[in-house]
Subunit: 123 residues, 2 copies
DNA sequence: CAGGATCCTATCCGATACTG
DNA sequence: CAGTATCGGATAGGATCCTG
């Protein structure tokens, strides 16, 4: 029962008590909306990228945080990781099916905010 | 689906350099996807709520963080704040038009994650 | 190139106390 | 009820060095 949709419970019953601390979705939402998670997911939406490409994509991210963010998203099943045992090694990241699904509302969110902040001047 | 300004720049030129540190959308995205911001916005999507209702809605949030989160979102123009000078005072919060627009992808994100984590529908 | 390990600092955030 | 102010612990996150 605690696995049930949190919002549905709120809709049928009282209108708050919406988000449990134990709600398992909280953790994944926290990962997805983490400081860097959202940018990683949006970046990978266009095409698979290697580690340094991601680092260059997302200005201001440190290698530590990129590695950490990628690890969390891989564990959550949002991103796959492919290692090519060449020299030097190549590691490519891409969105899983679920990751692509999740990246849609994220991109939507980003687009709406971007359009709001620059209605006439792009970037 | 058309991409935002930042992504478009990436498409026409090199495929990274996507997110500037100076990008003004970064700040607002950070607010929206802050630890508590997303839950406040989703909570207010159903109906306007008073301070204590929001506190009760979002389990685990402290009054300090709720106030802080609300202030940031009000400043960003995502949420309005209405003070009724009664005794005791009543302060109600609700989504602005832009806040409602933003809450859509947020709710979408939340729903997708919730459905993913509980595929077997509860009784 | 792709990270792991370490150190260290900024900030987040909860608890508490206080105000109108 | 709806906050504000302050303190202190926890954690996020950057810088640097090191490795396969």
């Amino acid at each position: 029962m605690k696995e049930g949709a949190q919002l549905k419970q709120a809709e049928v019953g009282n209108r708050y008590e919406v988000f449990h601390t134990e709600c398992p979705a909280r953790d994944m939402v926290d990962h997805v909306t983490s400081r860097w998670g959202i940018w990683v997911l949006i970046s990978l939406r266009n095409n698979d990228l290697r580690f340094f490409e991601l680092r260059n994509s997302i200005q201001g991210i440190s290698e530590k945080m990129l590695a950490q963010t990628l690890r969390a998203l891989v564990e959550d099943g949002l991103i796959w990781r492919e290692v090519e045992p060449t020299t030097p090694p190549q590691v490519t990241y891409g969105l899983s099916a679920f990751g692509q699904e999740i990246s849609e509302p994220l991109t939507d969110l980003f687009n709406r905010i971007t359009q709001r902040l620059s209605p006439q001047s792009p970037g």
